[in-house]
């Protein structure tokens, strides 16, 4: 029986299922215990699984990841919460130089099945460092897997898959969509789910293709809805996996539509959309009717919240890009 859950609750149920399935799963981070995390993603877990498995850590991100690595070396499966996107940087060194590379360094002897959960993106009216989209930094690093969920149904299965994965996974959660609701099959076995590193068409259409992930998937669905009123059908693809990329559905779509717009909140310079544009151009050059266009945050630091509606891609900016694509 599916339950109607918010994305936040779907993640919570997913973490609970992971902890029940594997006694080696431990949850750690700032305020994840008694408080249940500032977004309540870990709500109730400490009460049910105890302080040894749900650890309120000292305030030190580098130590959260560094000790998670040690715990993993000892056979545990740590799930680390970074409180906000902008606070992952003190842990960046441990993530990039240790978490990502230890398996390689040890020629496969050491596995680090660590999940790093990061609420990301803007749109919640927050102060500085609480609205960033740092995913590209991690995608740039071999040895890390990077995913982003966009809706409650996926969020639930994806967090369980990430925790069960043998490689380190950076797991991005679209914080402004935490309160979105959808049906979630909490009892479903992992084997029933779409594999973690598979992208998916979430709306079909033949006229142009929109590719997004995390919070921008809903924006693109809204844009497609608006475009449908005008008689054009946009195909929307939810990437879900950012590294490795799964471009097969994107390429299949572009071969039909000939037009591609990639959307994310992160700035455009050396971003996911740059990578996708390059690869699609290489693999489907003769199918393209127009250059791959991008709708992204601007190449500035994230602005003060009174300006964020201007910074963040919205339906209008997405549709303007679609219009430009049609003009070619």
């Amino acid at each position: 029986m599916p339950l109607t859950l918010t994305l936040a609750k779907a993640l919570n149920a997913g973490l609970r299922a992971s902890m029940e399935a594997d006694p080696k799963v431990v949850v750690m981070g700032e305020d994840v215990g008694k408080l249940g995390g500032v977004f309540r993603i870990t709500d109730g877990l400490q009460a049910d699984f105890g302080e040894d498995r749900v650890i309120d850590t000292p305030l030190a991100e580098s130590a959260i990841i560094g000790t998670a690595i040690g715990l993993a070396m000892r056979g545990f499966r740590p799930v680390c919460e970074i409180q906000f996107d902008g606070f992952v940087y003190p842990a960046f060194d441990q993530i990039v130089t240790q978490l990502a590379k230890m398996h390689y360094r040890t020629q496969g002897r050491v596995r680090l099945p660590v999940t790093v959960r990061i609420p990301f993106g803007g749109g919640i009216g927050a102060v500085e460092h609480h609205s960033e989209s740092p995913e590209a930094y991690f995608c740039h690093t071999a040895g890390l897997k990077v995913v982003a969920c966009s809706n409650p149904t996926d969020a639930h299965m994806m967090i369980r898959q990430a925790v069960a994965a043998d490689d380190p996974v950076i797991f991005f959660e679209p914080k402004r969509r935490y309160w979105d609701k959808a049906d979630v099959e909490t009892g479903a076995p992992l084997s029933a789910a779409t594999p973690l590193h598979v992208s998916r068409v979430v709306r079909t259409g033949d006229d142009a293709t929109l590719v997004a992930y995390g919070p921008m998937v809903r924006t693109c669905l809204n844009a497609a809805e608006a475009m449908a009123v005008e008689g054009r059908e946009l195909e929307v693809i939810d990437l879900r996996t950012l590294s490795p990329l799964d471009l097969s559905p994107v390429l299949a779509s572009v071969r039909r539509t000939g037009r591609l717009v990639v959307v994310h909140e992160a700035p455009s310079n050396v971003s996911l959309s740059a990578e996708i544009a390059a690869r699609v151009t290489e693999a489907a050059f003769y199918s393209l009717e127009a250059p791959v266009l991008r709708v992204t945050g601007y190449d500035t630091p994230y602005p003060p919240s009174r300006l964020e509606e201007h910074y963040l891609p919205d339906v209008d900016r997405v549709l303007d890009a679609v219009d430009r694509s049609f003009q070619y």
């Binding site: 709500d43 000292p58 309160w179 809204n222 500035t300 003060p304 009174r306």
Partner: protein
């Protein structure tokens, strides 16, 4: 609004240091056993004698004693106003200083004009004492800018939200001071004072800063407000030992002071400044209490008992100083009423100013990415111009993140799909 008649230092620029011969070591050796935090006022306002620290405040005139209370009353009142403004949707967030007035005012009033403060995000009381317009502090929390005052004008740097980061900046700044000025000059060096919390003490940055300050004998005072909580985690989750004890391991003096005692905080900070002026960095731990929520987005009932707050309320820093002044005949009902009226008037001015704060222009977001314009921001600026914003944000999460998980956390999401479906063609997209 302007800040009325706040001279930044309780006394002149030279007096406190000239009072006592410079002793760049902890007058209360922490290994002398548990003497407890330095305290000059009992919770009921009685003056406690302390041979070591009494001399550091012996010079205070009656007006200066009264001024300490005035500062505390005003910053508490402004803090209440800011909290109310956030509740009414005028600020995105507010981090209340309630309970920490003595720690902030006592330390800030020990400073000279040429000292430099590196705050965290809760030092509104220090900002006040440094002459920063409270409205400029509110503009950050309203989301109008990331920080709105001139650091050099006030000897008060921008707020720092990334916990602990500013301790390194302070240390580097102080290293700069030693490369420009000699410590044996008149009155010693200008000191850099960095504020941080008990939670921050866990960060690598903070411990590296303490170490560097020791290695380079930087004129820094590390002022830790141990308010017992880092969001939901008690200090015991950050460290097993009292925070001030850590100083010893870095070769610095460490002093613990009752941070709810404005006189003791002033005296201890003067001691610390005196040592730092001669290139002996000092760690001060002010034991205080965060009486409110972590921020307006937080719900402390989830992790701490109400009776804890009741206990600390009996040690309220403002009441303590008021009781002391009454005992000395420096405060009576009519003077207290006048002070409240003054604070109310400032709060009204602050509110009016906040409501009048204009939103920044969208194009201002491209300013100051670099010192000189380069092509990338210019291109982005052009792109922004082309895609004129709709002015209607999408339905999104609530105004502020942390702790919004209660019923109020569910934003009243108007389904954009319905709006869009009902809308006619292109030009009405702007109404989505």
């Amino acid at each position: 609004m302007s800040v009325p008649e706040t001279d930044r230092s309780v006394s002149g620029t030279d007096r406190p240091d000239a009072l006592v011969t410079p002793v760049p070591r902890d007058p209360r050796d922490p290994e002398d056993a548990d003497t407890g935090p330095v305290r000059l006022l009992a919770p009921d306002g009685r003056r406690l004698a302390d041979d070591t620290y009494d001399p550091y405040i012996a010079d205070l005139a009656d007006t200066e004693l009264y001024g300490l209370l005035r500062d505390m009353v005003i910053v508490r009142r402004l803090d209440e106003e800011a909290t109310a403004l956030q509740r009414q949707g005028e600020l995105g967030l507010w981090a209340s200083l309630r309970g920490q007035e003595a720690a902030q005012v006592g330390s800030a009033r020990a400073l000279r004009d040429d000292d430099m403060v590196f705050p965290s995000y809760r030092e509104h009381g220090v900002a006040w004492c440094r002459g920063v317009d409270p409205l400029d502090v509110l503009s950050l929390f309203r989301g109008v800018n990331h920080g709105g005052w001139d650091a050099d004008e006030h000897g008060f740097q921008d707020y720092s939200i990334v916990v602990g980061s500013q301790t390194l900046h302070a240390t580097g700044y102080a290293m700069g001071v030693t490369r420009e000025l000699a410590a044996d000059g008149d009155g010693g060096l200008p000191v850099t004072v960095v504020y941080f919390g008990d939670g921050a003490s866990s960060q690598g940055d903070v411990n590296e800063a303490l170490n560097w300050a020791g290695v380079f004998e930087a004129p820094v005072v590390f002022f830790c407000q141990n308010n017992q909580w880092a969001i939901s985690e008690p200090t015991r989750r950050q460290t097993r030992a009292p925070i001030f004890r850590r100083a010893r391991g870095f070769g610095l003096p460490g002093v613990q002071v009752d941070g709810n005692d404005v006189l003791a905080t002033l005296a201890v900070t003067r001691y610390a400044l005196q040592a730092a002026r001669r290139r002996c960095p000092v760690l001060v731990e002010a034991v205080t209490y965060r009486m409110g929520a972590h921020t307006t987005a937080d719900d402390p009932s989830r992790y701490r008992h109400a009776d804890e707050l009741a206990g600390w309320s009996r040690r309220d820093p403002v009441q303590r100083m008021a009781a002391y002044l009454r005992g000395r005949g420096l405060l009576d009902d009519s003077r207290a009423a006048d002070l409240d009226a003054e604070a109310d008037a400032l709060a009204t001015t602050l509110r009016e100013g906040c409501l009048r704060l204009p939103d920044p222009s969208p194009h201002s977001m491209f300013d100051h990415v670099y010192v000189h314009d380069t092509e990338t921001p210019a291109a982005a600026r052009d792109a922004c111009e082309q895609a004129e914003p709709s002015g209607q944000p999408e339905p999104s999460g609530p105004g502020e993140p942390s702790g919004q998980a209660g019923p109020s956390a569910d934003p009243a999401v108007v389904s954009p799909l319905l709006t869009v479906a009902a809308a006619p063609l292109h030009h009405t997209r702007k109404a989505i």
